[in-house]
């Protein structure tokens, strides 16, 4: 019996234990539970470092951060892979292979695909030597524009060894966006979707066993690139919809309008269990979290968490939380999300995904958190932003930069002083978090000048890149 024929049980609690993985030969772990049990503690983190849009005359880089407490270089950026050009705005990145291709013999989770959000250039970095990765391939913007696409965002490996990227605009930075496919030699294979199927695009997550993908909406690149303008919101230029795709047919089968409370839905995370049809999406601007799920053959999305705006002495209008990133722990028990403008990161118990329960939260930086969350260390300007959790769910890390132009608008000091990477120790049994007072990675102190820090990945898979068949 092939895996695709394995019996599906909607209510199978977790992790596809019914799923026969005797033929596991490719990259990743056979199940989410195996990822938790078999993985070792993360020792290195790959973190995007940015100079785009500043007066520092240097290209963006992939930072290699030592996160091994037993290492003499703990908390240091031990290597930087400089991109060949300036102006990329490295943003989100992904692996060439993940657990979804655990049946593809010979494939390895070894290459990072690193797009430039502003440049539309796509880099491939070989991490065979984990501490000294190197660029092996660059796809130039002109090659991307040939498919009438620009502004690459989310990178996901897909089960057959190919790599898919959400593209937020057309060659001119206008709508519509779409999806670009790379083959396993890192060449552009073409568009994944029929052109015009989607207008706005942002993040996407697929569940191959359910034959479903869900994509979200930011705006046209020409709208969000220069900065956040309320006039654009009023003109309807920002997204508020989720698109439910037939994964095999590559067609949208349903569009869900999240309404006024679902403005700018960004990161989409299905639960990791391949039998689950539940997931979450954070609506950044309206500062809500929606639970989406399948029922009677259709997808539904309900608002389950509402972050109230807060009054601030220096602001004319109440400050929204701005839910910019969220992730689900590998055991599907906890949801974490960041309120970038408020300055907190929250942990919810989502054992019942329709009724998340606030378990704990930490304040650090932002507009309401302590400017100096770690005594004796430097000030923190932005709020918690991109999150990454260890596979065992015990360590939550985050960086503080969102997007260069938006950072400049909301946290001008961040560009001058650089970002930090912070960490919380998580107790999944008690549902608590504590800021690690010994951990800070300072992106403000680099040879070329202070850098912004963005997404974080582990070499052995993480809670925001691995999908299971």
């Amino acid at each position: 019996m092939s895996d695709a024929d394995a019996p599906h049980d909607e209510h199978d609690d977790h992790a596809g234990h019914d799923h026969d993985h005797g033929d596991h030969a490719g990259p990743g772990y056979s199940t989410p539970q195996a990822a938790i049990e078999e993985s070792e503690r993360e020792q290195l983190a790959y973190v995007m470092g940015l100079y785009v849009g500043t007066d520092v005359d240097a290209p963006d880089f992939l930072g290699v951060v030592d996160v091994d407490p037993d290492s003499p270089t703990y908390c240091e950026i031990v290597d930087r892979v400089e991109m060949p050009n300036r102006g990329d705005e490295l943003h989100h990145f992904g692996w060439n292979a993940c657990s979804s291709s655990c049946h593809v013999e010979g494939l390895e989770r070894q290459h990072l695909v690193i797009p430039g959000q502003r440049s539309s250039r796509i880099h491939v970095v070989d991490t065979k030597d984990r501490r000294n990765p190197e660029i092996i391939e660059v796809i130039e913007p002109e090659e991307v524009f040939e498919y009438d696409l620009s502004a690459p965002h989310t990178v996901h490996c897909i089960p057959d060894g190919e790599i898919m990227l959400s593209m937020l605009g057309d060659a001119d930075g206008e709508l519509p966006g779409g999806f670009l496919l790379l083959n396993d030699d890192f060449e552009i294979e073409g568009r994944w979707d029929p052109p015009g199927e989607v207008e706005m695009n942002y993040d996407f997550w697929y569940q191959p066993r359910q034959n479903v993908m869900i994509s979200s909406e930011w705006a046209a690149p020409q709208t969000y690139y220069p900065g956040f303008d309320l006039d654009d919101v009023e003109a309807g230029k920002y997204g508020r919809k989720l698109h439910v795709w037939d994964w095999e047919e590559k067609e949208i089968r349903q569009t869900i309008d999240l309404g006024e409370e679902g403005m700018i839905p960004l990161e989409v995370r299905f639960l990791h269990s391949p039998v689950s049809t539940h997931g979450f999406v954070g609506a950044a601007l309206s500062s809500n979290v929606f639970h989406f799920y399948e029922q009677d053959g259709e997808y539904h999305a309900d608002k389950v968490i509402d972050v109230e705006p807060r009054e601030h002495d220096d602001w004319d209008m109440p400050v929204p939380g701005l839910v910019t990133d969220l992730l689900v722990s590998m055991d599907d028990r906890y949801l974490f999300f960041s309120n970038w403008l408020h300055g907190d990161v929250r942990m919810y118990d989502v054992s019942d995904p329709a009724n998340p329960r606030l378990a704990d939260r930490i304040w650090a930086g932002g507009n309401f958190g302590p400017r100096n969350p770690i005594e004796g260390e430097r000030d923190v300007f932005g709020g918690p932003q991109m999150l990454q959790l260890s596979l065992d769910g015990e360590r939550l890390y985050w960086t503080t930069s969102l997007f260069s132009t938006w950072d400049e608008q909301f946290y001008p000091e961040e560009g001058k002083q650089g970002s930090v990477m912070l960490k919380a120790d998580v107790n999944p049994r008690k549902g608590t978090m504590e800021l690690d007072q010994e951990f800070m990675v300072d992106f403000g102190d680099l040879p070329a000048g202070p850098a912004r820090a963005h997404e974080i990945r582990w070499p052995d898979g993480d809670c925001t890149s691995d999908v299971w068949m």
């Binding site: 500043t54 300036r86 502003r118 539309s120 220069p226």
Partner: protein
């Protein structure tokens, strides 16, 4: 057809630094600055992202394709996208990362 003449373009940074640039023919200001190793900020190079925004203090610059990243109010205020802007006279232009920040303010503050 005669080639367009070279123009003298003076770049002015917020910190008081200036640089004189000779912009050849139909060259963009950004390309000329890159040629001289002056390191101005840029991103998309297609007129969509505004990372390369400057502001004209004196002189005449035209965009050689649509400046999508600028709104009418920005164009009225003499902001230009240096990745697609070519001079039509000698010019003085405010440059550097700080200029882009002037385009959009924090809307809640």
């Amino acid at each position: 057809m005669t080639a367009p003449p070279d123009y003298a373009v003076t770049l002015e940074w917020e910190d008081g630094r200036t640089a004189d640039l000779s912009v050849a023919g139909d060259e963009t200001v950004l390309a000329a600055a890159e040629r001289e190793g002056l390191g101005l900020p840029f991103g998309c190079l297609t007129g969509a992202c505004a990372t390369c925004t400057g502001q004209v203090v004196a002189g005449d610059l035209v965009h050689r394709r649509e400046p999508r990243a600028l709104k009418p109010r920005h164009l009225d205020a003499e902001y230009v996208l240096l990745c697609i802007a070519v001079p039509r006279s000698d010019c003085r232009v405010r440059v550097g990362a700080a200029i882009q920040r002037e385009l959009v303010a924090n809307p809640w503050k």
